[in-house]
Amino acid sequence: MTDHIKDRITAIIAEQAMLEPDQISDDSTPADLGIDSLGLVESIFAIEEEFDISIPFNANEPDKSDFDISTMGTIIAAVERLVAQKAA
């Protein structure tokens, strides 16, 4: 289940970054992947649609958001948490 979520997120980010999924690691930051602020907002929307969840994210204060977007690893962990909350 967890790997499945990770694969689906990686696929979304890979498409946004125009990279192959194996070029993306847990340590990759959006900036590393060449994703700008608009690309990030678009990626978050795609993740919301994919998992039917609502992600609390304000582009004006990304650091203050409960949704940590600093790396792929933190994004995956945050989505897993939201998916689990939704299932509960």
Binding site: D36, S37, L38, V41, I44, F45, S54, F57, N58, A59, N60, E61, K64
Partner: protein
């Protein structure tokens, strides 16, 4: 425009500058916005630092994640318009007509006969009749209706307000609408200024209007994730986004000689305008683009940077705009940036999108005429990236001779107007 070349020197009046261009003055102003239904109420709110932002009230608001805005309250269209007019006027047109009537009444102008033929209207709006789109999409998509009212198209079109203003007052010259998102009304007023200055029109009604506070209008903005859920705090380190507003501002721009000859009260002189395009990004602003518009307006006005005492900022309260705008102003004005005042009134009336520059021009006129600088309310924490005098939280008395009004829109479209005290 060389008078010797075209042989029209004899027609030039004494007060016309040597460059052959006419001087342009403002002889009427009108508005409706969250702070009030007219200019005096709005200016009183500016002086008091009153906030017009509150919980939004309209259908399906509970389905929005952003539920605050600067909404016009106690708006009863039937107090101003008859049944047939209401069927034909979207809210953005209603707001425009109310503001235009106030402006024309103040100017004392009558457009019958010759004057109407050489006068016009240019207005800004981004969304036009967005409430009409919203209501009728809901009818056909959500409610499954297969018929809409016959006036949907003439009601929603972006030029509806300009056309109704032309009909209301008999303005038979240039009449059109410009849409440059958040800079729409600055672009409109700049074009009106250029038309009166060049002699293409003797009087122009100008400004802009927006009525986007409906479910679809706010839902669309939510998607971009640049909206604040709690407050608009321009230039404050803890700012977290913009807050939408609604309303209209309309002004009478008139040939100075015409205004003087009829003994009109002059509110301010419009002295310069410039526009630029970032040609870079559809949403992220560029300091260089903003700088080129500011320096262009100064140059067009023949103003030295140190003559500018106040700037009404674009100041949306987003992370990106405010630091970019401050960087641009600091760079253009150098040491003088530490002496001039720059405030954003959006924390009071919200971001009125295509009408915002028009409502903000009122703060510029207040600064020049009344010597009162409208504050940036909601200011809580200094931001080193916005280290200018933003007139935090309380209005200030100060004599200023020249002011600028900035507008920097999505799409990278910038428009800056310069006014001078007269």
């Amino acid at each position: 425009m060389n008078p010797k070349k075209n042989g029209k020197a004899a027609k030039l009046s004494d007060s016309r500058p040597l460059n052959g261009l006419r001087r342009v003055v403002i002889t009427g102003a009108g508005t409706i916005n969250a702070l009030g239904h007219d200019v005096p109420t709005t200016l009183a709110a500016f002086r008091e630092g009153r906030c017009g932002i509150s919980q939004l009230e309209f259908r399906d608001v509970d389905r929005l994640s952003i539920q605050i805005g600067a909404q016009v309250h106690d708006w009863r269209a039937e107090d101003y318009f008859n049944r047939q007019q209401i069927l034909l006027y979207d809210k953005f047109t209603q707001f425009t007509l109310l503001a235009a009537k106030q402006a024309v009444a103040q100017s004392g102008l009558n457009f019958q006969g010759e004057l109407g033929l050489c006068s016009g209207v240019v207005l800004g709006t981004a969304g036009g009749g967005l409430n009409t789109w919203d209501e009728n999409y809901r009818a056909v998509y959500e409610e499954g209706k297969n018929r809409v009212h016959p006036f949907v198209v003439p009601k929603l079109m972006n030029n509806a307000a300009a056309s109704h203003v032309s009909m209301e007052f008999g303005l038979r010259g240039p009449a059109f609408t410009v849409a440059t998102a958040c800079a729409s009304s600055n672009h409109a007023m700049g074009l009106a200024f250029q038309m009166v200055r060049s002699g293409a029109a003797r009087v122009m009604l100008t400004g802009g209007s927006e009525a986007m506070l409906c479910f679809g209008g706010v839902k669309a903005w939510e998607g971009l994730r640049v909206m604040s859920r709690d407050a608009c705090r321009p230039f404050s380190a803890n700012r977290n986004g913009m807050v939408q507003g609604e309303g209209a501002g309309v002004f009478v721009f008139e040939d100075y000689d015409n205004a003087r000859a009829r003994g009109a009260e002059i509110l301010a002189e419009v002295v310069g305008f410039a526009m630029s395009s970032d040609a870079q990004d559809i949403v992220m602003p560029s300091a260089q683009g903003a700088e080129r518009a500011i320096t262009g307006a100064l140059h067009d006005a023949g103003l030295n940077p140190d003559e500018v005492g106040y700037i009404n900022a674009h100041g949306t309260g987003t992370a990106a705009n405010d630091k970019t705008e401050c960087a641009a102003v600091a760079h253009v004005f150098g040491h003088h940036a530490d002496r001039l005042m720059m405030s954003s009134t959006k924390a009071m009336h919200g971001h009125i999108i295509g009408g915002t520059g028009a409502v903000e021009l009122l703060a510029c006129i207040m600064a020049l005429r009344d010597g009162v600088i409208a504050p940036t309310i909601g200011y809580q924490e200094p931001d080193p990236e916005c280290a200018l005098d933003v007139v935090p939280n309380e209005a200030r008395e100060a004599r200023v001779d020249a002011v600028l009004s900035n507008a920097f829109a999505f799409g990278g479209l910038n428009a800056v107007i310069a006014l001078r005290r007269i």
